[in-house]
């Protein structure tokens, strides 16, 4: 491999000059010399040695990713987004996956992510990233926990698909509340009166946000807010079944169901079919996540698509902007989701002005948004 020194010799200048040219310190080098240097570099196929650069300047183009579990489709797609942005900007990515799903991480009371062991693992990964010379960290969560204050580092840090209350944190997420409002509004517009909610676990932050969105829509429409219409599951199809059974046992049955993920929706559909209820007519149904399965259940499941790849891309771009000099950028982004209409609920978007116009009025967490 050709080194700086080789390039310098070939171009007949000092290594410092070459370094300046390579780093585009334009005010340091005359254009004539710069051209000569660039040619020499090209001819030798020069590639800067990242390890050397990182060592000397503790600056580099390496992004460290700490992810909760790469085998989930969320983390998976976000990492893809990060990779795309990194590629474009000539950054490399170091992957440190915590493999959370492989651990007993959520027993109802105790959350693995709050244990000392988890903290230590995260801290270690970040320390290692530092010694490799990483210039910043992206934390990719599975979206279920509030991890405010868990991670401590002096490198720039961006949270992707994870919640933290600290207003100084950089965070890229999807807009759960807003899209939940939109979905429920659409159901109301079609004349649905009693909209059941199959929520995620109470302690889940995104579930809370979606719940807020649901309530916002109902309040705005002056519709019934019957607590009996809200059931909590654990994201599994089985919990969706149970929730649905309870809802359908109500005296006044719901005529619509908003499920906070597709797997619970599939569970619910199983129950509805058993009961011989006409899905899409007698009752409409919407899921969340828009996983591949939606197209292949019958009837096809209307769902909400989260811009995961986009979240990853944006997180990486934000991090790169943060590291590459003091450019200011917004602390929080919440990207819009998209409702994907299929057979269980024929979606029609709202007339312009009505969409989520009052998102902030009910969101108790609105104050966090910097």
């Amino acid at each position: 491999m050709a080194t700086l020194k080789d390039v310098a010799e070939r171009a007949g200048v000092s290594t410092a000059t070459v370094s300046y040219v390579m780093n585009n310190k334009e005010n340091k080098v005359s254009e004539t010399v710069a051209q000569k240097v660039r040619r020499a570099a090209r001819e030798l196929g020069y590639q800067p040695n990242i390890a050397a650069r990182a060592l000397r300047s503790s600056r580099s183009n390496i992004i460290g990713i700490v992810s909760e579990d790469i085998s989930t489709f969320q983390v998976n797609n976000i990492v893809q987004g990060i990779n795309q942005a990194a590629d474009r900007e000539n950054y490399q990515i170091l992957l440190g996956d915590l493999n959370l799903c492989g651990k007993i991480w959520h027993d109802g009371r105790q959350d693995y992510s709050l244990t000392m062991n988890y903290r230590k693992e995260v801290r270690d990964k970040i320390e290692i990233f530092r010694t490799v010379g990483a210039c910043g960290i992206i934390y990719v969560g599975m979206h279920d926990r509030d991890i405010t204050g868990l991670i401590r580092t002096d490198m720039p840090l961006v949270y992707a698909y994870s919640y933290t209350k600290n207003p100084g944190d950089y965070m890229v997420n999807n807009d759960n509340q807003r899209v939940a409002t939109q979905a429920v509004e659409a159901m109301l517009r079609q004349g649905r009166k009693r909209i059941g909610l199959i929520s995620g676990p109470v302690e889940s932050v995104p579930a809370y946000k979606r719940l807020m969105g649901y309530q916002t829509a109902l309040m705005e429409a002056g519709a019934a807010m019957d607590p009996a219409l809200i059931e909590y599951g654990d994201w599994s199809p089985y919990s969706g079944e149970k929730a649905c059974r309870r809802l359908m046992a109500l005296e006044e049955r719901p005529d619509a169901l908003f499920c906070m993920n597709d797997w619970m929706a599939v569970g619910a559909m199983k129950v509805l079919k058993e009961m011989g209820i006409a899905i899409g007519e007698e009752i409409v149904l919407i899921g969340f996540d828009d996983i591949e399965l939606c197209d292949y259940v019958e009837p096809a499941l209307t769902s909400i698509s989260i811009p995961l790849v986009e979240i990853g891309r944006l997180a990486a771009e934000k991090l790169i902007r943060l590291t590459a000099g003091g450019q200011e950028c917004r602390h929080r982004e919440e990207l819009p989701c998209q409702i994907i209409g299929r057979e269980t609920f024929v979606y029609e978007s709202a007339p312009e002005k009505e969409i989520g116009k009052s998102v902030k009025t009910v969101d108790k967490t609105a104050e966090m948004s910097a």
Copy 2:
């Protein structure tokens, strides 16, 4: 961050001594001093600087991964396996994803992976890995191409889930042929006479291997090898539909279907249902990949599970063994798959001695296996 020098000062020795202790060069340092050093290191929370080590010794504990597309479940799970092994052995992973699916990579005649552009991208990634100080490379494919000779590097290289004919290459795969034989044998044991095959594209290597397995089973049983029973799809559900329609239009209909992936199987099931054919009785069906969907179609789809995580783990272990000194290890591994019985075909495993006993007799590629 504490450096070697800090540790040396605190222990009252030279940096060389500390280095020797840290690298377990036991014959160089007395046990008394070693203990003192280890204590000092612990007290200071010393972490070796990977960039410095890589620079000085071009040796490190960084594994570079070149993957074809991280958003596919195969690559995804394999990376998880690599991560697990790396974690255990204190290695770090650099991820370089090619994002192949995002490119027009397969138009029937031209395969993106054969273009100059692809080669350049791979070469670049590897060059960058070198400058970071990576000690070796794992190439993670999507299993469809023979990439013999595509990659050139002097770092140790292990192929995971990718085929290459070069006998000197290290490669970890699943045993496609053997499990295909097992599956078809099981169908024959249940008295099925005409077993249809919905294959992947002709040019796909794993599809070829599975075809060999299918033929082996039929030959052994002296069963009919009707070319009309073989249809080729492109892995998509739609192609599965088409293939199935053609097979069911035959004068002598198949009474069993072996599909080379689950999506085509799902497509086939759609057709069978439309035709009112009793799946699991009139015709039995088996897919390949064992994706989540299998549990949620009706009837639930019997499938073949590929040990993806295990493939990743083994590939990483192999690479680590290769880099950490000249330990010899086998060039090729083909891990066994598992048949997961569900409703479309009630699987019963064979009496011991019959299972795939003649795998090698028909495999034209057997000679490759070192």
